[in-house]
């Protein structure tokens, strides 16, 4: 800092291109970044501490509010950890619906990413296109769960309810329409000269660095590393679906863009297969002491009403032990580590947020790059401060 040749500038926390409240302190030599330090924590709500004061069912609602673009995957990761802890097996219909909902949510999250990322770099049109389709998905999600952003729909032991009868038709309509829409985004960006100049060879990350920094998700795969939790450690019947993992080669901003576009197409394949193969049967596991009764039963059956109160008031007591549940969220590997001491509240709930580690690698990516590329780099990593700060 004593060297007067370098200038230190402060970017954020109120900067439109930091996607939330992220502050970066950049040390510059002219326009070249010598060093950068991210400051986080502006959105810290103490989720891990709050979970220790709630029953297992209640703590689920905290998970929605981590990565708020992607509530259903967060629910799933938490539920997987809890179900592993108590040893619950979910019926096939429940598992398939979880997969369909999470893949729809992945497409919605990627649409939000492509909209804001392109806007940051200066391509405004993409935003209007992408939000149009995102709205269709959110309407489906709202129709099923009753909420657009914080569904809390995937519950420990299954789902809050079965899907409504029109669900199949709505999803099929979307699946038929969406490939054309992805082509539209591609015509706007993929061969666009300005887009290519702004993204190609910008803030590259080598495969070794990416692994060393613990980076996961599309950012890791853009660097050419074939790691996806859905394939490496399949959960929720993902091994019964046919899809491929798109990989990049250079690990620059452009590759991350291509990988995410391909991922949307693959997610669509998964949704299509899920709807075609969707089995009949119950969505919830049979565990009367863990899963509250259906709403209809509560209105007619006295015993069901008592059971509902008991489960909601007291919760359930998993055996002493610990379990890790991880899903491939749109950002990367999202994990929950739940430790039980035999009481009705988690003794410790640890969240492994993908964005936290992906952000940690940004100083490495932008070293030696131009100031204007910081915006492109942050956008391409797709961070959500809600889950970084917890």
């Amino acid at each position: 800092m004593a060297d007067t040749r370098y200038m230190t500038i402060n970017m954020g926390p109120q900067h439109p291109a930091t996607h939330g409240v992220l502050r970066m302190v950049l040390e510059l030599d002219g326009e070249i970044i010598k060093k950068s330090i991210p400051y986080i924590g502006y959105l810290h709500r103490g989720v891990e501490k709050l979970a220790e004061a709630r029953t297992y069912h209640q703590a689920l609602t905290l998970s929605d509010r981590l990565d708020y673009t992607n509530g259903l995957s967060n629910n799933l990761a938490y539920c997987l950890a809890c179900e592993r802890l108590i040893g619950l097996e979910i019926p096939k219909r429940g598992q398939y619906l979880r997969v369909i909902l999470c893949e729809l949510q992945r497409i919605a999250a990627h649409l939000l990413w492509i909209a804001t990322h392109a806007l940051d770099i200066g391509a405004m049109t993409v935003l209007f296109y992408a939000f149009r389709e995102r709205e269709t998905i959110l309407t489906i999600v709202e129709n099923v769960t009753g909420a657009r952003l914080t569904p809390s729909f995937i519950r420990i032991g299954g789902l809050a309810a079965d899907v409504p009868p029109e669900f199949g038709t709505m999803v099929r309509e979307f699946v038929d329409d969406f490939p054309k829409r992805i082509d539209e985004y591609e015509t706007l960006l993929t061969e666009n000269v300005i887009w290519r100049r702004r993204t190609q060879n910008v803030s590259p990350l080598s495969a070794e660095d990416a692994i060393n920094y613990g980076v996961t998700g599309p950012v890791l795969r853009a660097s050419g590393v074939n790691y996806d939790v859905r394939k490496a450690y399949p959960y929720s019947s993902y091994d019964e679906f046919d899809f491929i993992i798109p990989l990049g080669t250079k690990g620059d901003v452009y590759d991350r863009y291509l990988v995410r576009l391909q991922e949307m197409r693959q997610s669509l394949r998964i949704v299509k297969q899920g709807i075609e193969k969707l089995p009949d049967g119950p969505v919830n596991a049979h565990a009367l002491d863990i899963i509250p009764p259906a709403k209809e039963d509560i209105q007619h059956d006295m015993a069901a009403l008592i059971r509902h109160f008991k489960i909601m008031e007291e919760g359930f007591r998993p055996p002493v032990g610990e379990a890790y549940g991880a899903v491939e969220s749109p950002k990367g590997e999202l994990g929950f580590y739940v430790i039980s001491d035999g009481s009705n509240k988690p003794f410790r709930m640890r969240i492994r947020p993908p964005s936290f580690l992906n952000l940690g690698a940004i100083p490495k990516m932008i070293e030696g790059q131009m100031v204007a590329d910081v915006v492109a780099a942050i956008g391409s990593v797709d961070i959500v401060l809600g889950e970084i700060d917890r």
Partner: protein, 167 residues
């Protein structure tokens, strides 16, 4: 799951005479190791060709306030090549520090800052051990069990001091 994986067998062979406890729980393999040898074990797991745990998925602390030693550090290791996970646990008494693993996995740098922030556990040779999520002048370590969930001072009246005002 029956039988130990190649990595765990090799680990036990290499560290004979060191107190290692291996257990299987909910589909995960966990290794509990004494504080003295823990860094060597982690370094071995990273660098050995058969173990090759190249990614540090997570690292976090647990406060067992009623037990001794009080704190527990948990490392979740992941081998991308072998598609294998391993959990390594170390127990630390209050006030004890632990050597950093930043030089083994770069990801540990922020994890260790967070553990320092939330539990007050210090890491030796860490390049930049500051609070990460909380303010620099925050008092206390919130994830310790003796820290109240509501925090301190939430029910105290909030006073505003205007510039130039005496007192």
């Amino acid at each position: 799951m029956s039988g130990e994986s190649k990595a765990v067998r090799k680990l036990i062979e290499k560290f004979t005479g060191v107190s290692l406890r291996v257990e299987e729980s909910n589909g995960a393999t966990m290794v509990t190791v004494g504080k003295e040898k823990a860094r060597d074990v982690l370094l071995f797991l990273r660098n050995d060709a058969d173990c090759n745990f190249d990614m540090l998925t997570d690292q976090f602390g647990v406060d067992h306030s009623s037990e001794k030693p009080r704190f527990e550090l948990i490392y979740l290791l992941n081998s991308l090549g072998n598609k294998e996970r391993l959990t390594v646990k170390v127990r630390l008494a209050e006030g004890e520090s632990f050597p950093t693993v930043c030089d083994i996995w770069k990801a540990a740098e922020w994890f260790e800052r967070e553990i320092f922030d939330m539990f007050g556990i210090r890491f030796d040779n860490h390049p930049d051990l500051r609070r990460i999520l909380l303010d620099d002048d925050f008092e206390g370590h919130p994830l310790r069990k003796d820290f109240p969930t509501e925090g301190y001072g939430f029910d105290q009246p909030f006073t505003v001091h205007l510039e130039g005002e005496n007192e």
